[in-house]
Structure formats: C-alpha cells, structure tokens
Amino acid sequence: MRSPHTKFYLDKLNAKWSGVCAGISDYTGIDVTVVRIGFVLSLFIIGPMAIFAYFLTSWLAPRKPIELYARNPEEQKFWQGVRANPRRTARDVRSRFRDLDRRLADVETYVTSSNNRLANEIEQLR
C-alpha cells in the first residue's frame, strides 16, 4: 500500500492532453516541457511502444485528488524530495531542527546573561 503523497498521479490541472507528462513532471520535479520533449523524442526512438505506454498510463493511473495540489511551491518541492529519497528528506528536517536548537540556545544565553546583569545592577543600587 503506497501512501497518498508518494503515488503517481495524472496531473489534470497542468495537462496538455491527459496529464501523463504533467504527472511525470509533478512526480519527479523535472520541468514539464523537458518531459514532453523527451516523450516526443522517444516516439522517434521506440515508436509505437511509447504511444502504447502513454495510453496504458493514462488509463491505469488515477487522477490527482484535488486536496493534494500544493498551496505553495515549497510544499510541492518537499514532496518531490520525499518521493526521490525519503531518507535524505528526513535528514534535512533533522538538520532544520538542529539549526533551530542552536539559535534558541543563542537566545537563551542572551536572555539569561542579561537578566543576571540586571540583577547585579539592582544589587549595586541597594
């Protein structure tokens, strides 16, 4: 059972004809024009097999559910990364958390040390 975000779909919103090339482009992150040119070139190389594969895909693959269309391009890129290599994406997320931890530690150091300084000033005023 494959999960909804890592499945192959026909991308009907960006489709020229039935959305196979747009689906490949959405799945892999390769530009849709490059995929289409590649498909046309493959027509010359393997001929009718490419057309057969195209119709088979457009017949078998489900169309993309409307709620999966990403609201921002950053989200789309994230899922393309997950499809290509989930392990690397997990490492990326971990490194983001580490970065956050480091920055939070900086802020903590600053806040605690300035509180200390304030306490010392008050002590001197007494």
């Binding site: 059972m1 909804p4 997950v82 997320v93 956050l100 600053y110």
Partner: protein, 106 residues
C-alpha cells in the same frame, strides 16, 4: 532466423527489463502512510518554529543589536555608541572645515 531474434527481444527481453525496473522501483522508495504523516508533521512543525524563531530574533535585534556576542553588555554598547558618535561628529566638522578652503580654491 531474424524473425525469431526480433520476437525474442520483443516478448522476452522487453518484459524482463520492464519488470526488473518495476520491482526495483517498488523496493526503492518505501515509505508507509504513518511515516509520511510523521514527516509531513515534522516538516510543518519545523517551519512554524522557524517563523517564531525569526520573530524573536528580530525583537531582540531591535532591542539590542550585537546581542549575538556572548559577553556583550547593552549599557556599555550604548555608551560606546555615544562616544563613537561624538567622535564621528567631530571628525565630520573637522573634515568640513578642511574641505571649505578646497572648495573656495576651485
């Protein structure tokens, strides 16, 4: 002889190559629905925390520029700022005095 060869490539070699890649593709990218939801949630969480962190850093930056250096004293920093500002204004007036005659000569 030739037709046999063509038939062999069409009906044996092609499916073998095809199914080889299909099995490879199926085994390569394995992520379960739970893992996917977890990853999605963590990614979202990281983004929200990042936003909050940026806000806090901006507030502190506005309060005290140069807060990143550890032993930095805000009071001293302000005093230093004043002295340097004074020096700078002195320099500006000096430069202004120095510049005036040059301007007249032109």
């Amino acid at each position: 002889m030739e037709t046999v060869f063509v038939m062999a490539t069409l009906f044996i070699a092609f499916p073998i190559v095809l199914f080889h890649f299909i099995t490879k593709w199926r085994s390569a990218a394995t992520i379960t629905t739970e893992d996917e939801n977890l990853l999605d949630e963590l990614h979202d969480l990281a983004r929200r925390l990042d936003d909050r962190m940026v806000t806090i850093e901006r507030i502190i930056q506005a309060e005290n520029p140069g807060w990143r250096s550890v032993g930095q004293d805000p009071v001293e920093a302000v005093l230093e700022d004043r002295t340097s500002r004074g020096l700078r204004s002195d320099r500006v007036t000096e430069l202004g005095r120095g510049n005036r005659p040059v301007g007249r000569n032109r």
